[in-house]
Symmetry: C2
DNA sequence: GATGAATATAAAAATATTATAATACCTATG
DNA sequence: CATAGGTATTATAATATTTTTATATTCATC
């Protein structure tokens, strides 16, 4: 990677590096959700969710389609789900996390 | 992942989400380096590198062995190198990045 | 066109991150 | 033991992120 790529890659990672945003990715791995479903499932405010979704969309991690008054969110790039496997192992193997 | 795991996972991702720290991981993928080699190769100050290495070590992404007056850095967990493949594709496929 | 449900935006305070500069801390060697 | 090379720490200013609260927008329905 060249400098410029690392800057952008860092922004993408930063977009994932937040408990709620990680939660959104995890939930959406299971399939499409509305904004309301997301903030209920992840137990945060509507405003919070809206702002976090914006960040995820900007990095093209999540995409949104509109249907009437609701918005349906889904993963743009399922490749990054691999990351959760790495992370799971890392938590157990390197940071002392119990199962 | 439960809440607590997402908090920690977010910290690990945050540790990667920085141009220099990404650079360190990339360079170390190729093999061990001293601190001096790292900051010369990545073109930043010694102090900057020392601080960034600390963050990487805290999350057990990098480990350091001492040899006399120098410190040798290496990757603790090569699993995360998969991330670079995903990222490379993501940059090209989703963010309009030329090759 | 008023209402209500779903979502977005703005503002602001609290906190965290980043980057730089200055200084301190080893440790090997003369 | 003074020095110099390699690395760490501290302090600080600038900037960015996080979270909450309040308000705005949009759209379907009555």
């Amino acid at each position: 990677m060249v400098q410029e790529e690392r800057n952008i890659a860092a922004d993408v990672l930063k977009a994932m590096a937040h408990p709620i945003r990680l939660g959104v990715i995890e939930v959406l791995a299971d399939g499409e959700r509305t904004v309301t479903e997301l903030y209920e499932e992840l137990d945060c405010s509507q405003s919070m969710m809206s702002q976090q979704l914006k960040i995820l969309c900007q990095q093209k991690l999540v995409s949104i389609r509109k249907d009437g008054t609701q918005k349906y969110c889904s993963l743009s790039n399922r490749d990054f789900l691999k990351l959760f496997d790495c992370m799971h192992l890392h938590l157990r193997k390197f940071l002392n996390f119990r199962d």
